[in-house]
Structure formats: C-alpha cells, structure tokens
C-alpha cells in the first residue's frame, strides 16, 4: 500500500525531473540565475551614500573661503566636481542631474571671520533622492559645526581662552554582529531568502496550470494517483532544486564574500526546508486558483516578488511601516525566514532564541499545503 504510493510519487517526481531536464533554459534559470542575482545584488545594493556630486560657488575668493571649501574636498562624502559662476546656475546643474549639492560662500566671508563674527554660508541640497538628501543635509551641518569649532578654538588659542572646558557627552557607536558594516554581511543572509522565494513560487505557480492547459490533468486523474501524492510529487523536485540553490548561495556567500556562519548549520537547514516547503505551497495555491498561465504569472509576481522584497524586512525595516502593512507582512513566510537567516549567520543564534519563528514557519508550511490540496481538489471535482 505504502510501497505503491511511494512508487507512484516516485514516478511523478521522475516525470517532473524529466520535464525540467528537457528544458535546459529552465535549468539555467533555476541554478545559474540565482547565483548571478546574488552577485548583482551584493555589489549593487547599498544605502551607503558617498561621493555625492557637489559644486561650489566662491563669491568671496579669499584664502579663508578657499580653506573652508577645501574641507569639502577632503571628505569622501562630498565629491567636488567643480565651480559654478552664479546662483542662477545651481538650478540648471540640479535639473541636469550634474550635482546634488551646491555650496555657496558669499562675498564678505573672510572679512566676517577676521572681525570675529559669524560668517554666513549656504548649502543647497537637491531633495529628489530623499535618502541622499537627508544624509547630505546631516553631513553638511556636521562639517560646518566642526569647521566652526575649529575656527573658534584657533581664535580662543590666540585670545588665551580655553573653549573646550564645558562638559559634553560623546556618543560611542558600536555596531554589533557586523562591526565593519560590510554590506555583504547585511545582504546575503536576507538575499538568500528573497531569491529562493522568487525562484520557487514562480515555478510551482505554473506547474499545475500547465497540466490543465495541456490536458494531461485528466489523464492523471484517471490514473490510480491520489491527490496528496500528486502534490507531494510535484513539490519534491522543486524542493530539491531550491535546496541546491540555497546551498550554492550559502557557499558563494561564505567562500566568495566571506560572510560569517556563526550559528548551527543543522538549525538553518531545518528552517530552510520548512521555508522552501512553505514557499512552494504558496505557489501551489496560486496554481490551483489561477485560471490561466498569464494570471498565474502575475499573481506569482505580486505574491512572491513584491512582499519578499518589500515586506520581509530584507531592505526596509518593518518597524517604520504602518501597522496595517505590518500585519500583512506576517502573512508571508519570508519575514520569518529572514529573521532566522540573519540570526543564524550573523548573531550565532539557535533554537533557544529563534524557536518562535521556526514554529510559525512549520505551522505555516503545513497550513499552506493543506489549503493547496483542498483548493485543488475542489477544482478538480468540478
């Protein structure tokens, strides 16, 4: 009885493998593309802002103004591209996207400093990219503060006053788990989850629809194959391939990008298996619901790509989003897996810290496969 069921599952799984093997492009899509994505994402994604193109307008032309502008040149945040000749050019430069920051030193800058007055300068930031603009604003304020303090200290020295007598707090920022803030360490544990989600949901989303389209579904229904057997057999090859993907990504991440793996590999593997199963189950639900391949594709795109990318906490912290969307984010397994993956890779966390996520993932995957079977059974009965 069980032996017969196993052999039926084996037969369908072999059929699926043959399908996959027949389409070399598909195999490339599943095995090579994830690695390419990993490389691309790891190099390209960064919220670090550096080398912001900057132009300067020096209307003072004194040694004091030149010394002041030199400080912008000596940081790696501002990338001073050149000078402009008038205030009117700032808009033009911004609109052509040639610079994002303009520093204006008005005439009389040197004279004010020489008279021990506050010298005025203006920093104009292009707000089109708010993230960069916000940092640009903060850096400009900090740079001016530091420069102002230096001018004041030099003046104090000459006058014989010790300026730095007042007590002040000094922040010592420590970054745990990733002290050098390497972006590969941030990204790869999360990326792994996103890539797997994209590959698996998309693949299984179309598998049942295709059988229906090609008319092979009826043939299968008249065979002794049972529904849960079909589901498991459909999932097996993809579970295997997704697992291979995951291992390859982990090896590239550890070997090539040098990310640490501080926690238990076994725990990670168990969680990954549950996650892959949950993601595949989501694909099956789509497959059972979608009337055509086109809609299966679009739903998969909507469900796999966007929430995995946006609502998983991979790149955008979930604390900052509205509570309603936070609730929605619990409906997708990527959220749990990213916490587990980061915990195991970077924090060395294990079962003791991460059991709630693991339990949720387990419950989730069971639920999803059950829903998929029920939906599919109902459709097939019609």
């Amino acid at each position: 009885m069980i032996a017969a069921a196993l052999s039926r599952i084996g037969a369908i799984a072999r059929k699926e493998f043959i399908h996959i093997g027949r389409d070399p492009r598909m195999l490339i899509a599943v095995l090579v593309v994830p690695v390419m994505q990993l490389l691309l994402f790891s190099y390209a994604i960064s919220f670090d802002v550096k080398n912001v193109p900057t132009v300067v307008l020096d209307q003072d032309m004194t040694s004091a103004s030149r010394a002041y502008l030199q400080t912008y040149r000596s940081t790696d945040f501002f990338n001073v591209k050149g000078s402009i000749d008038g205030l009117a050019s700032i808009d033009d430069v911004f609109r052509r996207n040639l610079a994002q920051i303009a520093v204006v030193v008005p005439a009389g800058f040197g004279r004010s400093l020489a008279r021990s007055e506050k010298a005025q300068v203006a920093v104009i930031v292009d707000g089109t990219e708010p993230n960069a603009a916000q940092l640009g604003q903060a850096y400009a304020i900090a740079l001016n503060q530091v420069y102002g303090n230096r001018v004041l200290a030099e003046w104090g020295d000459r006058q014989g006053i010790d300026i730095a007598q007042a007590g002040r707090l000094e922040p010592r920022v420590r970054t745990w788990y990733n002290p050098e803030r390497r972006s590969a360490d941030f990204l790869i544990p999360g990326l792994m989850v996103v890539i797997i989600m994209i590959v698996t949901v998309q693949q299984t989303a179309v598998t049942l629809v295709r059988e229906r389209d090609l008319g092979t579904q009826e043939q299968m229904m008249v065979s002794p194959l049972r529904l849960p057997e079909l589901m498991i057999a459909k999932l097996l090859p993809w579970t295997f391939l997704a697992f291979v993907d995951m291992v390859v990504i982990a090896i590239v991440g550890i070997g090539f990008f040098g990310i640490p793996l501080r926690g238990s590999v076994v725990f990670l593997a168990v969680a990954a298996a549950l996650f892959v199963f949950a993601a595949l189950g989501m694909g099956l639900i789509i497959s059972a619901l979608a009337p055509s391949m086109e809609s299966a594709n679009i739903i998969a795109l909507l469900i796999a790509f966007l929430p995995a990318f946006i609502l998983s906490g991979f790149a955008f912290p979930l604390e900052s989003i509205p509570p309603f969307l936070q609730g929605v984010s619990y409906l997708f397994p990527a959220r749990y897996m990213i916490i587990i993956s980061r915990g195991v890779f970077l924090k060395g966390a294990g079962f003791a810290e991460l059991w709630p996520q693991l339990a949720l993932l387990g419950g989730y995957s069971v639920l999803v496969v059950v829903i998929a079977s029920v939906l599919y059974g109902r459709r097939a009965a019609r």
Binding site: R95, G167, L169, P171, Y177, E294, I310, P317
Partner: protein, 373 residues
C-alpha cells in the same frame, strides 16, 4: 495596412483578455497594490526603532537623556534592563534594534568638564537600522550637549560659521515624492513585459499564428493589432498610478504635462518592444516568463528606483546605462520633482528614444525571421 482588420484584431485581443476575468482585474489591481506597498514601505522614514536603555547612572542627566531619545520619534523604549549583559539576548532575539548605555558616574564626570562617553549599540544585521540609528543617536546627543551648554550659560562671542542648509525641490524630504514618479515607469515595464511577453508565444503554442497568416491579414496589421490593446492597458495603468499618487499621496507635480506625455510615450514603446521581443525569442510561455523574471530583477535593482545609483560601486555604474528604466526614472523624477523641461532632460529623452527605436527594430526584424522559419 488595413484599418478595419486592425480594428478587428484589437477586438479579438480584448475578447481573449476578457476570457480570463482574473487577469484583467489583476492588471488594474497590480498598480494599486504596488503603489500602496512601495508608497508606505519604501517611502517610510526609519523611525520607531525598538530601543533598550541601560541606565547605570540613575541621575537627573541620565533620565533626561533617555527621555530625549523617547520623545524623538525615532526610538521607542521597549526595555530597561538593569545590566549591560542583558542586552545580548535582547539583540540576539531581535527584540530591540538599538541600545543606549549610560555608564555609572556620567553626571558627576559631566560637571567636572571634558568629554564623557555614552554607549550606543546598533544591530548590524540590518544595514539601514545600523546606519540611520547610529546617525540619529549621534544627532540627538549633539542636540543634548548644545542644550546643556546653553543652560550653563557658557557662550562665547568668537568667530564661527553660520551655515544655512536648504533642501530644494522636495524640502520636506518626503520619500514618496520621488518614489511615485519612478513607480509609474516601474509598473509600466513590469506589467507590459509580463503580458506582452506571452502575447505572441501563446498563439504560436496553440498554432493559431499560422492560421492567422493564411487570412488576408498582413504582418503589419497583425503587429499593430497585437500591440494596441496592451498600449491602451498600459496607459490606463499609468493613469491610475499618477492619479492615486497625486490625490492620495499628494505628490507635487512641477513639470509640464506634454513633456511627461512625450517621455512616457517613448518609454512605453520601449517596454512594449521589449515584451514583444521576449515573446518572439521564446519557444514556450514558461520560457518567456523566465526571461521576464531574469530581466526584471536587474531592472529593479540597477535603475536607481530603490537603490541610488550614486551608492553603487564604480564598476557597476556603467551597467546601469544599459537599463532603459534608469532613464525613465531619471526623466520622471526630473520633471515631477524638479520641474525640468525638454532641454534639461535631453539626455534621458534621447536615450529612451534610442532604446525604443533599437528594440522595435529588433522586434520587427525577428518577427519576420521567426515567421519564415
């Protein structure tokens, strides 16, 4: 070209789309869903970071410092462990993302003068939290210092710098203001390539393509009849996004309408041609869909839509010039946010025109070649 035949083909294409009622609904639901997710998540400023405060000083100053963190809006104090060693499990589990440690004797050393260290711990497993959280904390402490010094009446009338930092075009620094113009282009390329890529390959799979060509329909008729319905859908999608963006998210529009229409028309040609090309080179619908996914990911990542091009390593930047979406995002932000005109936007406009011409040329050429196979 025969106008009546083209009209009939367009009609047929719409009938076919209507057969799958879910698809049509999805096509109009998709932009709305994307808009909501992108607008609220990607556009969200980092705030409400769950924070632990370890106050080992128990003084007025330490309580005031903790209070200034709590009232900033960036940090929400969710734990107050008694010892520093309790931080580890809190951060390990991800219960808190930031910790403020005020060492014993802070108040006493502060009144003695000089600089007194305060510990800030940020969770380095999330890059934005690490960079933004650390930055906010440092800013808050700087403001706190300024207040302390002002209270002590220690002001000196020496020289200094009075810097006026002003943000132009988007003074409130609202992320959605530049997110939504980019989203118009992104949604267009996503949905156009997903449905267009299936359009021709489906007919070939079913063998209806050959049938079509034994009728008097010419290839030109077929191509125009095939593209028009999708172009119309694309226009409706873009209008939905633009409308919700203007009305719901209150995104300002500073540009000229005809410039936007011109640019979007060029970009639409590019996306339609791209989808058509994918459809023509694929043998099965599944392959077509794989190819779309394969192309869309670099589009999303390298266009500067979410991740700024300026932050990418120099080796990657040249690749971004090959991505048509990059020009569309640049163009739409330029006109929406900065109110730039045709003269300033000549580079992205010409690039989009070039892409449209090249891809359409390719598509038409491979269309003829494919059919003679």
């Amino acid at each position: 070209m025969n106008a009546k035949r083209i009209r009939l083909l367009i009609w047929k294409e719409f009938l076919q789309l209507r057969r799958d009622p879910l698809l049509l609904r999805l096509l109009f639901l998709m932009p709305v869903l994307q808009l909501v997710m992108m607008g609220y998540v990607v556009g969200a400023d980092v705030k409400n970071l769950s924070t632990a405060v370890v106050d080992l000083d128990h003084s007025v100053v330490s309580r005031r410092l903790a209070a200034s963190f709590a009232s900033s809006g960036y940090f929400v104090i969710t734990a107050r462990p008694a010892e520093e060693s309790a931080l580890r499990p809190l951060l390990d589990r991800g219960d808190v993302k930031v910790a403020l440690v005020i060492p014993e004797g802070t108040s006493r050393r502060l009144s003695a003068g000089g600089s007194v260290p305060v510990g800030i711990v940020v969770d380095g497993s999330d890059s934005r939290i690490a960079s933004v959280g650390g930055g906010y904390a440092s800013q808050l402490i700087a403001a706190f210092n300024a207040k302390l010094i002002a209270e002590q009446g220690l002001t000196v009338s020496g020289p200094g710098i009075d810097a006026r930092v002003r943000v132009e075009f988007n003074p409130s620094l609202r992320a959605v203001n530049s997110m939504i113009p980019g989203l118009i282009a992104t949604i267009l390329v996503l949905s156009m390539s997903v449905i267009m890529s299936q359009a021709v390959v489906r007919e070939r799979e079913r063998g209806t393509l050959e049938q079509m060509f034994v009728t008097p329909i010419s290839r030109g008729d077929y191509l125009v009849g095939k593209l028009t319905p999708y172009v119309l859908i694309g226009i409706v999608q873009m209008s939905i996004v633009a409308f919700i963006g203007r009305v719901w998210f209150q995104v300002p529009f500073n540009g000229q309408l005809w410039v936007v229409v011109l640019g979007l028309f060029l970009f639409m040609l590019t996306t339609v041609a791209l989808g058509l090309l994918i459809s023509l080179v694929s043998h099965t619908r599944q392959q077509a869909q794989q190819t779309v996914m394969f192309i869309m990911i670099p589009f999303m990542v390298l266009s500067g839509f979410i991740f700024p091009v300026a932050s990418m390593p120099p080796a990657i930047v040249p690749i971004t010039y090959l991505i048509p979406l990059r020009y569309a995002v640049d163009f739409l932000r330029g006109t929406f946010v900065k109110g730039a005109g045709v003269r300033e936007l000549a580079v992205p406009l010409l690039a989009m025109a070039g892409f449209a011409a090249a891809l359409l040329g390719f598509a038409v050429a491979s269309f003829h070649k494919r059919l003679s196979d």
